[in-house]
């Protein structure tokens, strides 16, 4: 068996090792590959940048734990931007597994900026029945969430005295790994004119292109890449940048494998 013949049937463990290095090293070293900001992400940033201090953003954690590697960097970047601009945040979840994550993220990033729960941000908790919950918020937040996540009645929370329904909310962001943002668009946007932005996994992104074309959504943040773009815009490097480095290098390693595989194939055929 010639060299190329052997290369065609290379020990898989070499491929595994290269893949591990391709993902692991960028995570450890923070290379900082260039990121180009796309229009959709730029629109979200510009809109939030244009809000006045004290305006309210509603963030809904509509995802499971399986997709956390993509969800958390997006959430981090948005929360950092909002807190740094002194905006007020209201959090909630339409999926049970999203509740704990949303609560944790709110408190963690809130603490980074010294924001106070109840005054600058509040986490409402989880509601099942997507449609009913989204429609209900258009009427009265208090009716959907009588108490917040800490079991404090909404009427006793300072921030919630001025936030009653979508009319008092400047932007709704749904962080999701499925088509929940479609419900936000169909109900909160179409019915109540709420401005909706989906922050979704890269795989789900194509679902929302038609909504961008039709102008129903303002922009979109998709996956690790979207989060990395956002980190670049707010000039705070976070884990998405690193993750995206890992992602890009892993892709190049993959393409390298495909090219190598083909070289080995053609050379071994020539050798015959």
């Amino acid at each position: 068996m010639g060299f190329w013949q052997r290369a065609r049937y290379i020990d898989r463990r070499i491929i595994f090792l290269l893949m591990l290095l391709g993902v692991g090293l960028p995570l450890l070293t923070n290379i900082g590959l260039p990121v180009r900001v796309t229009r959709d992400v730029g629109n979200v940033y510009d809109y939030i940048e244009g809000l006045n201090p004290g305006d309210v953003i509603l963030i809904s954690y509509d995802h499971d734990t399986g997709t956390l590697p993509e969800m958390i960097p997006m959430s981090d970047a948005i929360l950092r931007h909002a807190f740094s601009r002194n905006l007020h945040l209201v959090g909630m979840a339409l999926r049970a597994e999203g509740t704990a994550i949303g609560r944790q993220n709110f408190r963690r990033i809130g603490a980074e900026y010294g924001r106070e729960e109840g005054k600058d941000f509040v986490f409402l908790g989880f509601r099942p029945e997507i449609t009913a919950a989204i429609l209900g918020l258009g009427t009265s937040i208090e009716r959907v969430f009588p108490k917040d996540d800490r079991d404090i009645p909404i009427s006793e929370i300072e921030l919630m005295n001025t936030v009653r329904n979508y009319g008092d909310i400047a932007l709704v962001i749904s962080i999701s790994d499925d088509d929940t943002p479609v419900y936000w668009v169909n109900y909160a946007n179409a019915r109540f004119k709420a401005k909706v932005v989906p922050a979704v996994t890269a795989v789900m992104a194509t679902t929302f292109f038609p909504f961008i074309d039709s102008g129903q959504i303002r922009g979109m943040i998709a996956g690790l890449k979207g989060a990395a773009e956002y980190e670049k815009l707010i000039k705070i490097p976070g884990r998405a940048g690193r993750g995206m480095d890992a992602q890009s290098i892993a892709h190049m390693v993959m393409i390298g494998f495909i090219i190598m595989g083909n070289i080995a194939y053609f050379m071994s055929r020539k050798g015959k």
Partner: protein
Amino acid sequence: MRSLLWFSVITLFLSPLVFGFGLRVADYPNDDGTRLVISWEKLPPPELEAADPDSYILERSTGSDGDFAPAAVISKLDPTLTTTDQDLNKDEKYYYRLSCTSEGIVWVSEPAGPYTPVENWYNTGRTNVLIGILLTGAMVGWFISQGKKGRSQYLRPIAGLLALDEAIGRATEMGKPILYSSGRGSMNRPASIASMNILGSVAEKVASYGTPLIFPNNDPVVTAVAQEVAREGYTKAGHADKYNSDNIYFVTDSQFGYAAAVDGIMMRERPATNLFFGTFEAESLILAETGNSIGAIQIAGTDSSIQMAFFIVACDYVLIGEELFAASGYLSGDPQVVGTLKGSDYLKIVIAILLVIGALLGLLNQTWFVNLFVTA
């Protein structure tokens, strides 16, 4: 909160002014009699043009002069000008009115009613589905009856099925077992039924050679069915004694627990042939790559379009899409089953013709034809 309180105090002292305002109520089509559709004219009404409030309250009552209670809040910007009131009772009469309290004015529209939601017994939005099924049923039924008369049909070769005998033979020669998996599909999925049909043929072939057939399951109902099917296959081949129900067993329903277990089995039992037929999810490539590393011949077939891609890359032969469902006709040669294949072939011609006609009529802007395929 405080402002709401303020309004309700005013309401107490002002008796509401009633205005004529066109509120239209209609039955919600094709439902179980629990919904009404309420639509209105453009807001605001003339009387409120100056105040132009953001939202109105839709109120519902079960008597024309009864107590109206809020049913929904309506935004003045709602472009649909309709809302659906749910969870109603089909034996009750309902009245609706729109109300608004704004800057001291209490505005109430004339009540509209009475309306009663109607319980429907046939979903008219699904007539096209019914026609499609009747057409399919008629076509398939006709070819089954042709099959009963024993008329045989030509079937084009499918590489993956031709390779099945070779793959079983190889395992026998090498004295190694065959590993079978039907993936993650529950037994009520047609793909699992198709998989069981293939399993029956495989068991029959394997029985005479005495090659072990290992089939770890992801679903306990599949285990029960698979044991029956395999036992029958062995019996048909005249080797009921060689059937070992311990080789077909439930492992776990955890997707990746199952993948880990099957990987482990492959490494330890070293099957010469892996057969993956059924509904697969992300575990497909975990199984197929591990199978590849031990040098097994692999044949796969699934109804999941995404997992077909992974099988194509990692397996030797793949039954693409419908080929999985056709397999039992090929393997058993039963003329009735083959007949159903012929029936579905004719349906493909019908679909192709509909596509061409639809495209032509579409170019001529005949929306009605395209709408024939819209389902509720």
